[in-house]
Symmetry: C2
Subunit: 207 residues, 2 copies
DNA sequence: GTCTATACATAGATAGAC
DNA sequence: GTCTATCTATGTATAGAC
């Protein structure tokens, strides 16, 4: 599913691709300068348009943020569901979800969207916030099921909800410090994060 | 040390207290609505002043944010250093730092400031950002020393820097979901977070 | 120290031509 | 679909009286 939040009726392929480009560029700018400080003029210029033309694609600025977020979270949900279908063992699911989440944070495009999810939710109106909340909840369900299974199996100990929050929170924080040219490669960071977050788990990089 | 970022020359006690009140109220508003969306008019009204009067206490809006952040982080540094002086064992230091950080996040006043630290750093000019970075680094040093000791003792395994980032990131995320009237009390949340973050550690609530 | 009044800049969004 | 031109609102910050 290509999440085009607030999906609209028929659109030409060219129009759709322009819209997609806008969403990706917006995500990058929001990450760089923050949503509130990014002006529609900057965004327009970044894609070679004048500010007025943006409003042919989006009703208002908030709708851009909403699209950025919905797009990003939806693609993680899709991949997460596929992974859950592929694997049945809690240990495999847990490690797989972990690696998926990390790669979506570290990868440029997905990372920009996740960054918006993490940092810009307060700029949404209550209605839009509820929409995103719904998607977030769908994603968290994957984690809930998996962590509950893992706790039931004795693979993890403690309150499942707190474990989920701590593990996801620890990962989400990577958007603040991870740099592709840092001391550790993306793979090394993922391995070490996995080790720090879920010490009891065997590790299978192929997941 | 009472961190009054960009400390100025002599100020009457009354003036100092007004300034402190402004910092605390600002922190609360920033948390509620975000820094960029909080107007100086709102802040002024919240303390019973007109917007123009704010600029008697702060040169500009950013200086308020800077004061909120510096104030918050400095008080955690102070407490952290005292704790490091009180305890010598890595296990005790680790658990103590953890509990201190959690309580500073969960406690209303400190939590507001930490929230700003986590969410509003992009609104600082590079100069101000460097100032806050310096304080953050001082705080992280406490964690670095402690985690290095713990790894050396075999209490923790893995890359110390990643462990630190994961543990702190997991805790910082609590500002997003913790509610005083939630399912778990502050104490229970802290215990469960400790368990999730540092499973190998014995727990001593008195620390 | 606080107020009133206001300058000044910049933002988001719209209208209508092409 | 994109542009130009512009409206309108709102923000930060200042000046000067009290």
């Amino acid at each position: 599913m290509t999440a085009t939040a607030g999906s609209r009726e028929a659109a030409t392929p060219a129009e759709e691709s322009r819209r997609t480009e806008l969403i990706l560029v917006a995500a990058r700018l929001f990450r760089l300068n923050g949503y509130e400080r990014t002006t529609v003029r900057e965004l327009a210029e970044a894609v070679g348009l004048r500010s007025g033309s943006l409003f042919h694609y989006f009703r208002n600025k908030e709708e851009i943020l909403l699209a950025v977020m919905a797009n990003g979270i939806q693609s993680v949900i899709d991949e997460g569901q596929a992974l859950m279908a592929r694997h049945e063992q809690p240990a495999e699911r847990l490690e797989g979800l972990f690696r998926l989440h990390m790669s979506s944070l570290i990868n440029g495009v997905g990372g920009d969207a996740m960054h918006a999810m993490i940092y810009e939710w307060r700029s949404l109106t209550p209605q839009a916030r509820a929409q995103i909340q719904q998607l977030s909840t769908a994603y968290e369900q994957l984690w809930n099921r998996t962590i509950n299974e893992a706790v039931a199996q004795g693979l993890l100990q403690g309150d499942p909800a707190i474990i989920r929050k701590h593990v996801l929170g620890g990962m989400n924080f990577t958007v603040r410090w991870y740099r592709p040219d840092g001391r550790l490669s993306a793979e090394q960071v993922t391995e070490q994060m996995l080790r720090a977050a879920l010490p009891g788990l065997a590790r299978h990089p192929e997941l």
